[in-house]
Amino acid sequence: MRTKMILKFPKAVTNEPITYELIKKYDLRINILKADINFKLEGHLIFDVDGNSKDIAGALEYLENLGVEADLITSTINIDSNKCVSCGLCTSACAVKALHLNREDWSLNYTELKCVGCNLCISTCPTRAITNTVW
């Protein structure tokens, strides 16, 4: 399965080689979408993860035992369908084509799996229909 994983970890574990372990032990194909350590030395990591569901479950348990808050998320953005007017301008920002216009009815389509969380669409959207749901 392919999904996104968000990790929030306290100061104590910022030295732990988490990514290495996830790849090595749980055989996950990992793509780091966002990595961030704040001034309190608390870390945030968002991965795009590909692996079998048993390994992903194992990885979640491993993280929990380390004291890391780990959650699976499908998307880092949300599109408010009440605000969206289907203008399509956000598709100009989306290099990976996660956002695209249906050429039949010209509605906006969003493919969560393709999204790499770059956030470029957020400031591009003129109706401010797109928000970041994670950070």
Binding site: K83, V85, G88, L89, S92, A95, L101, P126, T127, R128
Partner: protein, 383 residues
């Protein structure tokens, strides 16, 4: 040949044949121009795009004691104090003093239409007839006497697409333009667009009744920067910008689904306005015009990184190409993205079609026609 009143009689009897400007292209391909001109009475056109040249006239009624409002804000957005005591014009692009372009005149207008409460604050110097110097009120649209949208310019006949050849992102009214020719943005509803279906303004003129954001509105005047004398192609379509329309309509009848504030990053506020215009098929010539398809409508892609003087034309493309999602420029496949919502435009064209079919919306003969010789001048040079 049909007359306005003949068509209106059919509309009132519920017998008018009405199709959208998209549908007519296919119909003409099937049955030919002659038959189509005989059978079709009205073609509906529509657009839903951002138009900066928008705003609204509002009248608040007099307070007691009365004030001559000279400095006015609505939800913190400045409105004109240059009209009579309690009249104002709020421009769509005017920005909030606190929130900047994230909340502008367009938001005030749409909040009013949505029935929300807005805050009026005004001051005046105080006169013998208007002694009051300050007023503050929470108001809704219902509390106003008159509230009507007046668009000095809308419905551009044709508009160039935008790209960016430089190596930095440009923030423009055509949206953020990514560097190194990464995207092309364009703003049109193409074959549905009103003035592309009546390129010589044979049926659209002063007094034409239209759909304006859900209300029955009117073409008030020619729009600003009316460039009807532009060079045209064999279908009569201006090669660059052509005619424009000034529109008017009652905010109290408007529907928030067809008007929305727009914010363009590091550019400012604008207003999406939904417009629908019926075109009566008076004769075969009108069928010629309405049957032009997206593959026959061309526009230029301009390089917006050149800001002084005319922007260079990078490529001339058809709307069919723009709408396909990508165009090829200098051997590079560049993705295209619209600014105007074709989905909304279609919805409007269909609503208008429905209203005419049901006899709820009749067509009007213009009381004055537009010329085809006007040229928009640049600003006068410094002496």
């Amino acid at each position: 040949m049909k007359t306005y009143s003949e068509i209106n009689e059919k509309i009132k009897a519920g017998k008018a044949v009405v199709v959208t400007a998209e549908e007519v292209v296919e119909i003409v391909k099937k049955i030919g121009k002659k038959k189509a001109a005989e059978q079709i009475d009205v073609v509906t056109t529509a657009t839903f795009g951002p138009m900066c040249s928008s705003g609204a006239f509002l009248n608040f009624g007099h307070a007691s004691p009365a004030i001559r409002m000279e400095s006015i804000t609505l939800n913190g957005v400045p409105a004109s104090g240059g009209l009579a005591a309690v009249d104002t014009y709020i421009g769509a692009t005017e920005e909030s003093k606190e929130e900047g372009y994230e909340y502008g005149g367009a938001h005030v207008i749409c909040d009013l239409i949505a029935g929300k409460t807005i805050k009026l604050k005004a001051t005046g110097k105080g006169t013998d007839c208007y002694p009051r110097k300050e007023v503050e009120r929470e108001l809704t649209l219902e509390d106003l006497n008159e509230a009507y949208i007046y668009n000095p310019r809308n419905c551009y006949q044709n508009y160039a697409a935008a790209c960016n050849m430089s190596n930095r992102t440009l923030y423009t009214y055509m949206g953020p333009l990514l560097p190194n020719l990464s995207t092309v943005t364009y703003s049109t509803s193409g074959t549905l667009s009103p003035l592309l279906n009546d390129p010589y303004y044979k049926t659209i003129g002063v007094g034409t009744k239209i759909f304006l954001a859900g209300a029955e509105g009117f073409v008030a005047w020619r729009g600003t920067q009316f460039n009807s004398g532009a060079q045209r192609d064999e279908n009569g379509i201006p090669l660059g910008t052509g005619g424009t329309l000034a529109l008017i309509g009652d905010m109290k009848q408007m529907d928030p689904n067809f008007i929305a504030p727009a914010v363009y990053e590091k550019y400012g506020t604008s207003l999406f306005v939904g417009v629908g215009i019926p075109i009566p098929i008076l004769n075969e010539e009108m069928i010629d015009h309405v049957s032009v398809g997206n593959d026959q409508i061309y526009t230029n892609i301009l390089d917006y990184s050149v800001s002084d003087g005319p922007k260079p034309v990078v490529k001339r493309v058809s709307y069919a190409e723009l709408q396909s999602g990508s165009v090829e420029i200098n051997n590079k496949v560049v993705r295209t993205a619209p600014l105007a919502s074709l989905k909304k435009a279609r919805e409007i064209a269909n609503i208008l079609k429905d209203k005419i079919e049901k006899g709820e919306f009749t067509i009007t003969e213009p009381v004055q026609f537009f010329d085809t010789t006007s040229i928009t001048k640049p600003m006068k040079k410094e002496d």
